[in-house]
Amino acid sequence: MGVIVNDFNIMVGTVNGSGSQSANLVLMRSIFNMGVPIAGKNIFPSNIAGLPTWFNIRASEHGYMCRRAGTEILVAMNPATAADDVAQMAPGTLVLLNDTIGLLKERTDLRLLKVPFTKLVAEISPEMKLRKLLVNMIYVGIVAQYLGIESDAIDLAIDKQFSGKKKAADLNKAAVRVGQRWATENPIENLGYRIERREKTKGKIIIDGNAAGALGAVFGGLQVLAWYPITPSSSVCESAIAYLERFRHDKNGKATYAVVQCEDELASAGVVIGAGWAGARSMTATAGPGISLMAEFVGLSYYTEIPAVIWDVQRVGPSTGLPTRTAQGDVAFTYNLSHGDTAHIVLLPATVRDCYDFGAEALDLAEEFQTPVFVLSDLDLGMNNWMSDPFPYHDKPLRRGKVLSKEKLDQIKEFARYRDVDGDGIPYRTLPGTDHAKAAYFTRGSGHNDKAEYSEKPHDYKAIVDRLKKKHETARSRVPQPVVVTEPGASIGIIAYGTTHHAIVEGRDLLKKSGIKTDYMQIRALPLCEDVLRFIENHERVYVVEQNRDGQMHELIRSYGRALTDDKLRSVRHYDGTPIDAKSCVDGILAGEKVEVN
């Protein structure tokens, strides 16, 4: 059997709250420090302590970042799930089993090693509490030793994980050494998997999408952050708070921002809108249930034309759904959120870099278009660790939109808050407190004319909503545009967005091996632009791949260009709560192409 180098999955099954997260991150970072691309995915329960949790580390020579089904190395530490975990393994899988766990059914087709973790950890510390944590670091040592991960790479990862805590770092290193020693004493012949040093991670960073989005917002001039904790979005706000506290004080140490933890998501939306109205760059972050609650306020923001940024880190709905699993199920809902005729700008980040860029871009677009802007991330992107090139510093001026200052008011004859002066559907606004006779206007969610006066007149109502539609049309070419990658001779197109992107990157390579060449359009925002229709026009068949049951983007594209898309457009969907993998995407397309699926 040949040796597979830098291309396999390691799965660790533990109990949440047991401190295994640090060990898993150290193992992942050790491989990263070996120069090998990694993707870490935490599969965790909606629970604080005591329930099963799994961590999957994918090492990928090609740098594929999406989930990959299958496990080559399993570390089974959780008595509650070990039997199940082991039963699911393919023949030949290397399994490290805590020897205190008894299996009802022994499997002889696995390479199963029973590791005396309890005995090994006893050498390191007499304290029971510490042993509980350190035991995890022993499997890091064992796995590292078997795979050929160098000690330097592990030590570097430990120093990073326990930065500033030398005593803890030393103890953890000692635990790794114990694991390494045990593995040396218990060698495996022909393991078949190895990590070999590469240069593919040099200079790269590892960050989760929530922190990346927060960073983008803080460097994008975020001023008011209002939030209500909800999985999986809480760390957008927690990260933003940490960055704000670090970087956003004046010379007297006073905050150039405000953060409010609100009583619910309705209030978060209200604070963001109130602040946006009064001239501050404001945002909130939430998940599906919060979006449902915000519907009324979003309609207000849309109709009264007040900037607001809302991050939706999507989880599985409807209702409470699967709060710790991922989906792209809020696309259609957010696009038209609220009663009446509405349509919103929705940004669709696929990578941590997108999260960073859109953190600032959303604030710019909200002020430019004077409207709510959604950023639809998801749990997979938001809470998992992703490798990326470092983020660039954006130094272009912040786009604050059409705001009339006191001086500008002096130069114009009349100010009408909701008048389309420039023909792009975007009116001018003034900010409360502007000391000018022409400045004040009355903002109301009820019917109004272009001077913001109360009106129930048919032509006034129609004029406003028609202009709002025009504004949305303007947005089509001004939101982040799709990215297209082509393959000479391809007649099949793929459209995807958000984290599905990563399954497409790998999936296209797999399809090519099956003889199917594809072009790929990655949609990065709503409203859709005409390029999407051109892309469909130029292909025989186009598959829209996404992570929801109803093919929501597929439907949005169809309603945008029905006549054109009817015969050509196909929908491929993945919606079981796990991140989409390349195989699901490839199988869906092969089925559509009537190619037999193995």
């Binding site: 960073l215 001039g221 150039t256 609100c262 209200g270 510093y393 409360p432 407190g433 004040a440 903002t443």
Partner: protein, 352 residues
């Protein structure tokens, strides 16, 4: 004695100017579309007069409201101020946002009893907890006017609807609630008592945190009949006035002396004085427990207690508790909002 004069709002001579050189006209708003005789119009007139007398620049004021008859009124006063008629029961969060974006704005929120005590009870409570600087007025008539007279959550148990139905639910007392939640300025008044309401409003406007004023404001169309406990007649007959209120603005404050034997003097945050002339009893509004006690006493005796129930002039506002810059966030320049490149480089290094 309460005096009812909602028919003669703002009757000051037009030529009278305040310290900014503005006349009362500069503080007026659009024409009211409420029913003739509505208590809310008298409150709008009192607000107009209060700001005029204070000599506050109306352009520095922002008026906010929720939904309902009460919430229409910001269009009827201070026409030069920005206004925001938001969504039902949720003005407090919008006001909080506006306060954080521009702490120099003088905020006045107008809500109703349904908007505050029914759909908006949660937001009201949390506004009070945060203590964002604003005046929060509840125009309280015990019924939903715009949907034609259903009881709201402040309707007294036993009060009778126009069609004869009796309210069987316990009333929510927004003043007692505000005091319980730590509000540092809580008062109750009557739309028919402009002499009480105007100085009360002025003190509230100068207060450094959230100032809650519950104003009994009879609904002439749906709740002004016999059997209603929120009618003009009932309120006048059962008004228990705690003290005679006066207000002396900070700037005009030249050695004012008050006889401590007859008058309580509360020095407000900005140096102005709220004076409370003793009536039958000597009510001390600096003790939270007194307020809860007098409200319970009033309830037991079938009285509507009006006056300044509780005041702590040294209230720490939300913006101060957040240690925000003094300059409004909305006025900060780009250089204050975007950290330097070295900051990002630092973060990137940590993530490597």
């Amino acid at each position: 004695m309460a005096e009812q004069d909602q028919d003669t709002p703002a009757a000051a001579p037009a030529q009278k100017m305040n310290k900014l050189g503005l006349s009362l006209l500069n503080y007026r708003g659009g024409k009211s579309t409420l029913c003739a005789g509505c208590g809310h119009d008298a409150i709008s007139a009192a607000i107009t007069q209060a700001y005029f007398e204070l000599g506050m620049n109306p352009r520095q004021v922002a008026k906010l409201s929720g939904i309902g008859c009460s919430s229409k009124t910001p269009a009827y006063f201070l026409g030069e101020a920005f206004g925001f008629n938001s969504v039902h029961g949720r003005m407090p969060s919008v006001a909080t946002g506006a306060n954080l974006a521009n702490r120099a704005l003088n905020l006045i929120g107008v809500s109703g009893d349904g908007d505050t005590a029914s759909i908006g009870l949660g937001q009201f409570c949390h506004l009070v907890r945060r203590n964002a600087r604003m005046v929060y007025i509840v125009e309280n008539n015990g019924v939903y006017g715009l949907t034609k007279g259903q009881f709201s959550a402040t309707a007294d148990r036993g009060s009778v609807q126009k069609k004869g139905e009796r309210n069987t639910y316990e009333a929510i007392d927004v003043c007692a609630l505000a005091i319980e939640l730590g509000c540092d300025f809580v008062a109750r008044s009557f739309s028919g008592d402009r002499k009480q309401l105007i100085p009360m409003l002025q003190a509230a406007i100068m207060h450094s945190g959230t100032a809650v004023i519950d104003v009994i404001s009879p609904c002439v169309t749906f709740n002004d009949h016999e059997g209603s406990t929120k009618s003009y007649d009932y309120t006048k007959a059962h008004d228990w006035i705690l003290h005679e209120i006066g207000f002396v603005p900070g700037a005009d404050n030249i050695e004012v002396e008050f006889d401590p034997g007859t008058t309580r003097d509360v020095k407000m945050h900005d140096g102005s004085h709220l004076t409370l002339k003793k009536l039958a009893t000597d009510y001390d509004p600096s003790v939270r427990l007194n307020a809860l006690s007098v409200l319970q006493q009033g309830k037991a005796d079938g009285k509507i207690v009006t006056g300044v129930l509780y005041v702590n002039p040294n209230s720490e506002s939300f913006a101060d508790s957040l240690k925000m810059v003094d300059e409004p966030l909305a006025h900060l320049a780009e250089k204050d909002l975007r950290p330097a490149k070295s900051c990002l480089d630092q973060v990137m290094d940590e993530l490597r």
